[in-house]
């Protein structure tokens, strides 16, 4: 299997990897705002992301739930927390499994053990997206400049994740805690979205200093 050869390679290239928004680290630090109008952005590098596609009535769902430690989320916005993994609902037959501690190749081989031949697709998508963490009292106001969703807490609750657009970039927007969001753009959009966020945060620096 391909996975078994990738495992040692993960360790080898660990020190050489460059994340999609790494070059913006300095700009993110400079753009940070503290105080009542505070908002900060940083990149959470190299989260493991595994794409999972399984149809609604598939018998594989029960086996996958046992492996993940959680039932697959049932509807739009739902996030399921399992053993060292979090599962995001992307569409009725598509999920994104995210982990901070389990390597992509390991997670893929675990999940494939629960999948019958042709019953579901499990693909390591860790390089597909990066993760930007936006947090602070003004985080919602920054996102509202470019997101068509209603981000008021009454319709976008903490602990939900939806697929939408920010600054015209297709992203997964995940409200991890109140005033703390994970934004998952595709790697090639990370530079644009990072700079868009820095620009959108600029006014709060002026408000905060005044």
């Amino acid at each position: 299997m391909v996975e078994t050869t990738i495992e040692p390679l993960d360790k080898l290239i660990g020190g050489l990897r460059v994340s999609p928004a790494q070059h913006l680290h300095g700009a993110f630090v400079d753009a940070g705002v503290t105080g009542a109008f505070g908002v900060r952005v940083r990149e959470e590098q190299f989260l493991t992301m595994v794409g999972l596609r399984v149809t609604a009535g598939s018998p594989d769902r029960a086996r996958l739930a046992k492996i993940l430690g959680a039932e697959l989320p049932g509807g739009c916005g739902e996030v399921a927390t399992g053993h060292d993994v979090v599962v995001l609902w992307l569409s009725p037959d598509e999920y994104l499994v995210i982990s901070q501690s389990v390597a992509g190749s390991t997670l893929v081989s675990y999940l494939r053990a629960g999948v019958s031949e042709g019953g579901a697709a499990v693909v390591d998508l860790s390089a597909n997206r990066t993760t930007l963490r936006l947090e602070g009292p003004s985080a919602q106001a920054v996102l509202e400049k470019g997101c068509p969703l209603d981000l008021h807490p009454r319709s976008f609750a903490t602990g939900t994740a939806v697929v939408t657009n920010i600054g015209r970039v297709p992203v997964i927007l995940w409200k991890v805690e109140a005033d703390s969001y994970r934004i998952l753009p595709r790697a090639s959009f990370a530079d644009f979205l990072g700079r868009w966020l820095v620009d959108a945060m600029a006014e709060f620096k002026v408000l905060g200093s005044g």
Binding site: C76, P92, N165
Partner: protein, 96 residues
């Protein structure tokens, strides 16, 4: 801007969707049996309804699923949203 209720994701802005033209246009059972004119009619000829029109939309920056919408082409009011493959619903208030 119109607000479209995706059957899976709920109401979202029109900008998250793409339009797919008239709904319920079946693919010919045997395309090879059609004359050029019949094939041309299948490919290019569509209704140009004034009023309630059944059309396809895809939630391209959301769940990426296709579904059908009954929309009034005069007022832009959306009268019904239903999943791909489901029959066209009949609306209350007379024949459409």
């Amino acid at each position: 801007m119109i607000l479209i209720s995706c059957p899976d994701c709920g109401p979202r802005d029109e900008t998250e969707f793409h339009y797919g033209g008239q709904a319920h246009v079946p693919y010919p059972e045997d395309p090879n049996a059609l004359s050029d004119e019949e094939w041309g009619r299948y490919l290019f000829y569509r209704e140009n309804t004034k009023g309630i029109f059944a059309e396809r939309w895809v939630h391209s920056s959301g769940c990426r699923k296709w579904f059908n919408v009954l929309r009034d082409t005069v007022t832009y009011r959306i009268a019904a949203v239903y999943r791909a493959g489901e029959p066209r619903p009949t609306l209350e208030g007379g024949p459409q």
